[in-house]
């Protein structure tokens, strides 16, 4: 299934994707670092000191994991949606369609780019957060695992968005009207315990809620939910979206006539 030719093709796509976002690092890596620094400064340092404790932690400590993960989510998503749509728009997707590359290699190549960008930006923001808080990572391996799974999940979501997108507007609609509300309502800035019962139950449908809580656990050792159920939900979403993406690629939806 994974022969030498597939490995070369996969490395070619992944290398190309990584090279693309590194070449334009001012557009791809820097903005998240600056935006998150402002969040740390305004919400953490200035407003946070007046809010007091959240789940027993300083407000700054509480929001740091969510803010780090927010950058991973948005960067992984943005990398794949813009790159794959650009490839469709310029028709150079045809370079891959005419070549003997199975759909899973194409998908994995694009996801690799998204995961790598998410990982780099996530680590940069983690370093920046150390200037604003006394960040102690409880479980570094789990933290990296969540980076990885989050990158895979949202890179795949970005891929699906790009497959269906017909215009550049379509690749900004989902991040603006779906992804951003999911992130903000996923518990980046508050604990779910603060919500009324109905909104607590509604939050349980939001995949970002599980990811942020698992990530918060990896850093603080504290979470609103069970970590095992959190990982289970993330894996279910990943499997579902990956299978759906492979189906779209196999049928040529949005890329073949």
């Amino acid at each position: 299934m994974f022969n030498k030719e597939y490995r070369v093709a996969l490395l070619t796509i992944a290398h190309k994707e990584i090279r693309r976002f590194l070449r334009i690092w001012v557009q791809t890596l820097l903005p998240s670092v600056i935006t998150t620094s402002l969040y740390f400064l305004i919400f953490g340092t200035l407003i946070g000191s007046r809010i007091g404790k959240m789940n027993g932690y300083d407000y700054m400590e509480f929001i740091v994991p969510g803010l780090i993960l927010m950058t991973v989510i948005s960067n992984a998503y943005a990398n794949v949606v813009s790159s794959f749509y650009g490839t469709k728009f310029q028709h150079n997707i045809e370079e891959m369609l005419v070549a003997p590359i199975p759909p899973w290699v194409i998908l994995t190549g694009y996801i690799s780019g998204g995961v790598f960008r998410g990982l780099i930006v996530g680590l940069l923001v983690t370093v920046v957060s150390m200037f604003f808080s006394d960040l102690q990572v409880a479980n570094p391996l789990m933290m990296l695992l969540v980076f990885l799974l989050t990158g895979i999940l949202f890179s795949t979501a970005g891929f699906i968005n790009a497959v269906y997108a017909q215009s550049f507007d379509d690749i900004s609609i989902v991040p603006t009207f779906v992804l951003t509300p999911l992130i903000y309502l996923g518990g980046v800035f508050y604990s779910i315990d603060m919500l009324p019962s109905f909104w607590q139950k509604l939050s349980m449908l939001n995949p970002v809620f599980y990811i942020i809580n698992v990530f918060r656990y990896s850093i603080l050792g504290e979470s609103d939910i069970s970590v095992v159920s959190g990982f289970a939900v993330i894996l279910v979403f990943i499997v579902g979206l990956v299978l759906f993406s492979l189906r779209l690629l196999s049928k040529g939806v949005g890329i073949k006539n």
Binding site: N3, K4, E5, Y6, V8, A9, L11, T12, I13, K16, T87, Q90, H91, N92, E94, E95, M96, L97, V98, A99, P100, I101, P102, K251, G252, K256, N257
Partner: protein, 305 residues
């Protein structure tokens, strides 16, 4: 073995458009094959299906014995495609485009770099290897797509209007290159609107109209169907009227230029003997239009009427 064998190929697009209505085609290994047709006739759809860019509705496609449905990757390895539209990343440089394409075909990087160098040198693009592809001229962009299509050494090269918008000098050098790689064993399928190109390059020809193949034969047989030759004659002085010559029709372009249609069985000697007898001296002569062009139009007219 046939390089390409298509049977009863159909394609219905969403909205009900039947682009292909049962196309049958055979291209022999080593052939230089012209696939001609008017705009919208179904050429690009046929090529798109062969190259896995378009999903077929029904029918079968075999490339060097490999069935497209059963062995799609084997089929893809055999084919190099030069599409009609520029479809490379405009922001990437020339060398990276060709090297990446080799990578998609599973060619290890070291070998990919060597092959890309060979292809770019063959297509006279080596000096441009470091520039962004969007900065190339139209002719260079066409050659870049040819280099990219050849990097994995395909057995079947499909050229979809490869010289569109290219000046005559570059076109001639591209023709020479196509002849060279065909002589070296690569089977070539060419679509073009320059029928002179098809006539000078191709051994076999198929004409497709409204999704159906209306003619598929060898070039020599087809050209023999032409029953008259139209010539434009330049005369040494103005002539008000031309002599009546059996088997020839004359029409005036201007006083010193006349269009003459000569039936094949009449022969040009009769024409020149008649003109000589009338004291008319011909100083120049050219074909009014390409013979294939006339046949192509006749076939389309015949089919449609």
């Amino acid at each position: 073995m046939n390089a390409l064998e298509i049977k009863q190929l159909t394609k219905c697009y969403g909205g009900g458009l039947r682009a292909l209505k049962g196309v049958d085609l055979q291209v022999k290994q080593g052939d230089f094959f012209a696939l001609l047709g008017a705009n919208g006739a179904g050429k690009s759809t046929t090529i798109g299906i062969i190259a896995s860019l378009v999903n077929k509705t029904s029918g079968s496609v075999r490339v060097f014995g490999h069935d497209l449905d059963a062995e799609p990757e084997a089929v893809k390895r055999c084919i190099g495609l030069v599409p009609q539209e520029f479809n490379f990343n405009q922001f990437e440089n020339v060398f990276d485009i060709v090297v990446s394409q080799a990578g998609y075909y599973g060619i290890p990087r070291k070998q990919a770099l060597q092959r890309a160098e060979i292809c770019l040198k063959q297509l006279e693009l080596w000096d441009k290897r470091g520039v962004a592809s969007r900065t190339l001229s139209g002719g260079m962009k066409r050659r870049l797509m040819i280099a990219r299509a050849l990097v994995h050494e395909p057995k079947l090269l499909i050229l979809d209007e490869p010289t569109a918008g290219v000046d005559i000098e570059i076109r001639r050098s591209m023709w020479a290159f196509f002849k060279e790689i065909n002589a070296a064993g690569t089977t070539i399928i060419l679509t073009t609107h320059y029928l002179e190109e098809a006539e000078s390059l191709c051994k076999h020809i198929a004409i497709i109209d409204k999704g159906e193949v209306i003619e598929s034969t060898d070039m020599k047989t087809l050209l023999e169907q032409a029953d008259e030759e139209s010539l434009v004659l330049s005369l040494d002085r103005p002539v008000a009227s031309m002599p009546e010559i059996a088997g020839c029709r004359m029409s005036r372009v201007d006083d010193s230029t006349w269009l003459v249609s000569v039936q094949k069985q009449t022969g040009l000697n009769v024409l020149f003997a008649g003109l000589d007898g009338a004291g008319i001296t011909v100083t120049g002569m050219r074909n009014q239009s390409n013979r294939l062009e006339q046949l192509f139009l006749n076939l389309l007219d015949g089919k449609r009427s």
